[in-house]
């Protein structure tokens, strides 16, 4: 998992200009698998006041698969990075991961509670899903 984070850091390293970083986020926002619109409901909504994020988690063969979307493109780009790092992992791994790449590529400000874009809540929600599935798996 940390390899993927290193990969992302290297990808962002080539950009000196902020707008180039944003252009890259716009580009990779398309990498996010399309979320079935039926799941874009309040149940899956992480309300960030300004931009909306929808997040779903399914357990597939012991690993969590995240699907997500956002109505703002830059947010969606960041969401796609988070999914790339955390999706298709077992719950334990997700809980143990420290998301160092966010700081390293200069997106820390997007995850501060005041940015009100739902990303901080999204990370929390991903970890909560992992915890829930871990508990569920332990009971089986």
């Amino acid at each position: 998992m940390n390899e993927i984070q290193e990969e992302i850091i290297a990808e962002f390293d080539v950009f000196e200009d902020w707008l180039d970083k944003y252009n890259f986020l716009i580009e990779i926002s398309n990498d996010l698998p399309i979320m079935d619109p039926v799941y874009k409901t309040n149940e899956y909504l992480i309300n960030g006041c300004q931009s909306k994020v929808w997040l779903r988690a399914d357990l597939v063969d012991g690993k969590i698969r995240f699907t997500a979307d956002s109505d703002a493109i830059i947010t969606k780009g960041i969401v796609s990075l988070l999914v790339r790092v955390l999706s298709e992992r077992d719950p334990e791994e997700i809980l143990d991961t420290e998301l160092v790449f966010i700081d390293r590529i200069g997106l820390r400000q997007n995850l501060s509670p005041t940015r009100s874009n739902g990303l901080l809540s999204m990370v929390k929600q991903m970890k909560l899903y992992a915890l829930a599935y871990k508990t569920k798996m332990a009971q089986q």
Partner: protein, 406 residues
């Protein structure tokens, strides 16, 4: 135009900084304004030379501090042309003022079956306090709608006014649409029905000259920080005879006459409404801010800001797919807009990296967004230290945004 904006900008230290490598363009004045040196120095000097709690001690500093505080009250009185300093209550800001009034007025005048009239374009701060008091008292809230241009529908207001109405609380100028409301007409109609009117003057104070007696406003609320003064200070103006009848909002020091465990009697106006240690340094800063604006002259400020509004409106209209929300015939230099299909948050993020500060979102007016069936807008709110060059930068920035997301 006889307006030396370069000279004015030198009074505002913050405007000379760079953000993300670009000279800052500060277009978020509707949220808060920047402070001139004169205000910063007043606050600084107060802490260095005068600080002591007011209305308490017999010692030199306390007396001097009290004098400065009461001079600030007189300055505000004169600026808004209140009849007496008894009518000028210091608060923490517009929100504080409205909460105080809603609570106090509600205690005295609202009972089940009575009504409070607000408008569809109110800031949440002039909705929620009334909602809370209505719920507590079993009263109900009535809402004056606005039309497609963002102007209040006065015919609807006339229909809402009735013998159940106890107060009308509307904004003087809309923070998300820029509309200057026909407050004289609103007051005239309300008074004909014997109903008092509160004006939320948060956005009006920095742009219009306010004369509460001429307006015949019963209550007027505003914030220091939106009028080039410090944070945490605001004013609730109220006609003396109305304030006299209202119960205090908060209990504590300074608002009392005599306290015993059996009974407490309250201090006179305006102190009855000023419990605890007030923000006397903020009050001094606010007085300095009013001096500063007075020195430039509100008529000149208005004229220049109208020129900026016209320039900005023409310029933004040339951006393909840009739609402005709030096109009232009578408005201030606030431009709320959307670029077709582009999320305001995305646009705001890019503008930020170009050094341009705009507000994105609902601007604490969710009902306004619901009216237009949108989730938010970008808002550029201009002040007299802004320039046409800065508007050009916004214009270029919006083209950049279109290239990136279009």
């Amino acid at each position: 135009m006889d307006f030396n904006v370069d000279k004015i900008r030198r009074d505002f230290p913050i405007l000379s900084q760079k953000v993300h490598g670009h000279p800052i363009v500060y277009f978020d004045n509707g949220a808060t304004t920047q402070k001139p040196r004169q205000v910063i120095e007043t606050v600084n000097r107060y802490y260095k030379e005068e600080n002591a709690s007011i209305h308490r001690g017999v010692h030199f500093l306390s007396e001097r501090s009290t004098e400065t505080y009461e001079k600030a009250r007189e300055k505000v009185r004169k600026y808004i042309n209140a009849a007496s300093t008894n009518e000028v209550i210091f608060t923490s800001g517009t929100t504080g003022s409205i909460n105080a009034l809603a609570f106090s007025f509600g205690e005295k005048h609202l009972v089940p079956g009575t009504e409070v009239i607000i408008s569809e374009m109110e800031h949440h701060s002039n909705i929620v306090p009334w909602q809370m008091v209505c719920e507590r008292k079993g009263a109900s809230l009535k809402v004056i709608p606005f039309n497609i241009k963002g102007e209040l529908v006065m015919a609807e207001f006339k229909k809402l006014l009735s013998d159940k109405t106890r107060i009308v609380a509307v904004t003087h100028i809309s923070n998300s649409l820029g509309t200057i409301n026909p407050v004289r007409e609103i007051i005239r109609l309300a008074h004909k029905s014997g109903v008092p009117v509160l004006l939320d003057g948060a956005q009006a104070m920095p742009h219009e000259s306010i004369d509460v007696q001429d307006l015949d406003a019963d209550f007027y609320a505003f914030s220091g920080h939106k009028v080039y003064g410090p944070n945490g200070i605001g004013v609730l103006y109220g006609k003396e005879k109305l304030l006299y009848d209202l119960p205090p909002y908060q209990g504590g020091g300074d608002m009392v006459d005599c306290v015993s465990f059996e009974r407490t009697t309250y201090n006179q106006l305006p102190f009855k409404f000023e419990a605890g240690t007030m923000n006397y340094i903020g009050a001094a800063g606010l007085a300095a801010a009013l001096d500063y604006i007075g020195g430039i002259g509100l008529e000149r400020i208005r004229e220049y800001e109208r020129y900026l509004l016209e320039y900005a409106t023409m310029k933004l209209m040339t951006v393909p797919g840009l739609e402005i929300y709030g096109n009232a015939a009578n408005k201030i230099s606030i431009l709320s807009f959307l670029l077709d299909g582009i999320h305001p948050y995305d646009a705001g993020m890019v503008l930020d990296k170009l050094g341009i500060a705009v507000r994105t979102g609902t601007h604490c007016t969710q009902p306004v967004m619901d009216h237009f069936k949108i989730t938010g807008t970008l808002r550029a709110s201009l002040a007299f230290y802004n320039t046409t060059g800065e508007i050009d930068r916004l214009h270029a920035g919006l083209h950049r945004v279109r290239e990136m997301f279009g």
